[in-house]
Symmetry: C2
Subunit: 332 residues, 2 copies
């Protein structure tokens, strides 16, 4: 049954945050008004498009909403900041049920509550395909934002969590159902799919890395190789990544028994893990690694070094090869 | 020819604002960072969707880009604020040429320069249809934002500019080409189409109305009737609109000779004019009307009164009828 814009907006407004710290005019007016405080403001926008980033048949609206907020929060995390406010613009096909939209907002609200941000506005439209465009406003101390541009030769390269899980989940989701149905119930398979569907934004970890003296930071949305190449380009440096030290996601070895995938290739070139990559002075690593483990249960792995040279891989057999800045191209 | 995401992003970055006042980290990092200053911040997001808000065959990318920014600026204007920064998320079908995207950004940049805002970020994706999702960050003095909620019985209702032009332009654009081809070159027809394609955001006018003591304000994106009903609902008031005093757009009388349209109906229920509707204390009108005429060449028309009753139309023959809160429903 079709819903009018007014009916849907009224329903959406109920799941949006009304009162929240710093909100002067909440959702429901021409625009929201907030009180910025004395911090610098971080602004980021990311869009998820049906049949490009997700498929309606295989994606729950709750997970989609969660992810649409989380990928934006991840960008704030990569600056060392705290998310505060979010705006959501939607395109929705007429056949979408109001209950589906409520579940979508439920997922957005879940991610928002988890990360302490208030959803304060947006726009709802008809469209042929579902499009979820989120903007997040975050805060960071004056002059304290960590860009991609400060890495220096001699810095260590560290990543949070593990790599390749989302790409593994995507391979599972895209595989012939008969071929993978026996493994879909297993823990390792669920863990891969969970990273794809509900990625963790590393907000506390990003702040800890910033405090520990991170010189450059980026979130791994498009894969380690491509995102590292971006950090290196902005910093005017090179990097050597030790393949043997990559924190390859658990489950990829098991996945390799079922599908024709290469765990190391997914860890290097698979996108959507939303882990953080940072360049740290060598002396800073052990303390922040301990802090991340204790506070968030998140491992931090030293995967290599910032250099003055090119982007290279140190292979387990001692050879070195160029690291192709190939990754998750949303245009590919 | 298809372009990769990296190539397109590099081209887009060239047309985006690099250095701008208050920008700490410009476009090109995980997120932009700005220095908010001591004002309150206004946040608004609006999305334009292919085949809902525009058609590729009849819309120039330059106009589309201009409008995508202008409709967001209009929301900032309706709060009495100044636009400062914009973020742009795009979905683009693979067959879209890079030149088309550059023209789109050219239009966005035109609107941005006209209104003094810097485009500082966004996201580019593949999609089946073109979607342009813009977020604008604006500023307003602390406690000075004009919401929809302050109108009081006895206030006068005033509108900037004229009404119904965009709906007239839409009727022209949608009409059988043979039927309207003889008039498309005439000034009145061009003026209707221009409002549809390149709406003026009333930023200076909104600030003048705020300074003059506007108690409530809204921009007319969905038509006078629907947007007035929203203002009345939020303010807990009614309104009486005098039909004889409506500033019906020039050109609609001529359009009536060609197409089966009712100028007053378009002025009441046609959307996308992006004029401002404000509730003003009666004594404040004459001075701000003069200011708007002198500074911006924009007329300000007294169209009726805020009441304690329902939403009604005062007809030219002395009768009164209910004003249906029917307008431009993007879900219709």
């Amino acid at each position: 049954m079709e819903t009018t814009e007014e009916q849907l907006l009224a329903a959406i407004r109920k799941v949006l945050s009304g009162e929240a710290p710093g909100v002067v005019v909440p959702v429901g007016d021409d625009a929201a008004v907030i009180e910025p405080g004395r911090h610098h403001a971080i602004l980021t926008a990311d869009m998820l498009v049906e049949d490009v980033h997700f498929r309606l048949e295989t994606t729950s609206p709750h997970d989609l909403g969660y992810k649409a907020v989380a990928v934006n929060v991840s960008d704030v995390a990569a600056m060392g900041g705290s998310p505060r406010y979010g705006l959501v613009s939607l395109a929705l096909p007429p056949e979408i049920e109001a209950a589906w939209v409520m579940d979508l907002y439920g997922g957005m609200r879940g991610a928002a509550e988890e990360h302490g941000l208030a959803l304060i506005g947006g726009d709802t439209n008809r469209g042929d395909r579902v499009v979820v465009a989120v903007t997040v406003y975050g805060e960071v101390g004056q002059g304290a934002a960590i860009t991609r541009a400060g890495a220096r030769p001699g810095d260590r390269l560290v990543v949070t969590g593990s790599l390749g899980a989302a790409a593994g989940g995507l391979a599972l989701a895209a595989a012939d159902a008969d071929r993978v149905k026996e493994v879909l119930g297993e823990d390792w398979a669920r863990s891969l799919l969970t990273v794809l569907e509900r990625p963790a934004a590393r907000v506390g970890e990003g702040q800890s890395l910033a405090r520990a003296g991170a010189r450059a930071m980026i979130d791994l949305s498009d894969g380690l190789a491509l995102d590292l190449s971006r950090m290196c380009r902005e910093s005017g440096v090179g990097a050597a990544v030790r393949v043997a030290d990559l924190p390859v996601a658990e489950g990829l070895r098991e996945l390799q028994d079922v599908l024709d995938i290469d765990p190391v290739d997914l860890a290097l070139h698979g996108g959507e893990d939303y882990e953080l990559l940072a360049a740290l002075p060598p002396h800073a690593i052990s303390q922040v690694r301990q802090a991340l483990a204790e506070r968030y249960g998140t491992p931090l792995t030293d995967i290599g070094e910032v250099t003055e040279g090119a982007l290279v891989l140190d292979l387990p057999d001692g050879r070195q090869e160029r690291l192709e800045p190939r990754g998750w191209d949303h245009f590919g």
